[in-house]
């Protein structure tokens, strides 16, 4: 835990962590994002199911829209693939010296998987 650190905020922003730091930040942001999405969706579904409330239907309509699905698919696929990388490096720590290559492999898998899904979502949205 980094509690008790005395790094000023702007010095922290200038830290040149590179790819692994970007993955760490994206993992946290996407994790909190998924939790927020799932929590809001569960509550909205509850109120939609039990009392058909207008704001719940509005939230779930946003969640069904194609532009929101592009975001959700991005954060879920990234969180899953990055989690697999963390898991693999935890099981085989002798490969930690190749962690930057593991990161490249992760993005190499991510780009076609997400690109294909995004292509079909956008294509269907544009076709109406």
């Amino acid at each position: 835990m980094s509690v008790g650190r005395s790094v000023p905020f702007f010095a922290g922003l200038k830290y040149q962590g590179g790819g692994p730091m970007l993955a760490w930040m994206l993992h946290r942001i996407s994790g909190v994002g998924i939790l927020l999405f799932v929590g809001m969706h569960v509550m909205a579904s509850f109120f939609m199911q039990q009392m058909g409330s207008d704001w719940a239907i509005a939230i779930n309509t946003i969640y069904e829209s194609w532009y929101f699905q592009l975001v959700v698919v991005f954060i879920v696929i990234f969180h899953a693939l990055n989690g697999l990388r963390i898991l693999a490096l935890d099981i085989w720590p002798q490969f930690l010296q190749y962690q930057r290559e593991a990161l490249w492999l992760e993005w190499l898998v991510f780009v076609p998987v997400y690109g294909l899904v995004a292509f079909f979502i956008v294509q269907r949205a544009l076709a109406g």
Binding site: M1, S2, V3, G4, R28, G31, V32, I34, L35, V38, G39, V42, M43, S45, F46, Q49, E64, W66, Q69, V73, V76, A80, G83, L84, L87, D90, P93, Q94, L96, Q97, V117, F120, I121, R124
Partner: protein
Amino acid sequence: MYSRAVHPGLTFEYLMWLFTRISAIALLTLAAVGMIAAFILGARTQMDLPTLMRWTFFPNPNHVISSAIPDITLGWANGFWQVMQILFVTFGLTHGFNGLRIVAEDFFAHSFLRPMMRGLVFFLWMFMLLIAIYVILSS
């Protein structure tokens, strides 16, 4: 690089670290089962990709109700998928709220605020779990 034997002991942090890994594998397995079953049930000709993604993330019959499936009671809405959904939310919410606790602890010093934050996360976890299971069993 050399390795040395580490004996972490059964602390709460170690158990949650282990649970995060195990639940991650469980969630990916559940998603794979959902997607493969959807294709066996005829997803290729009966639904579009966003609908398949929604079913994969969470196999709720309400997620496929607007597709071209003629009758969702044939295979898509039954007790098996309710059990799958309960497993999904239990693993998912526990994984997620433990992650939220870990993220939040980086922003809380060792003061009275930390146990209060932990209590809030625990309360939210129980609350969301109950609501989610209620929604699953009544949908």
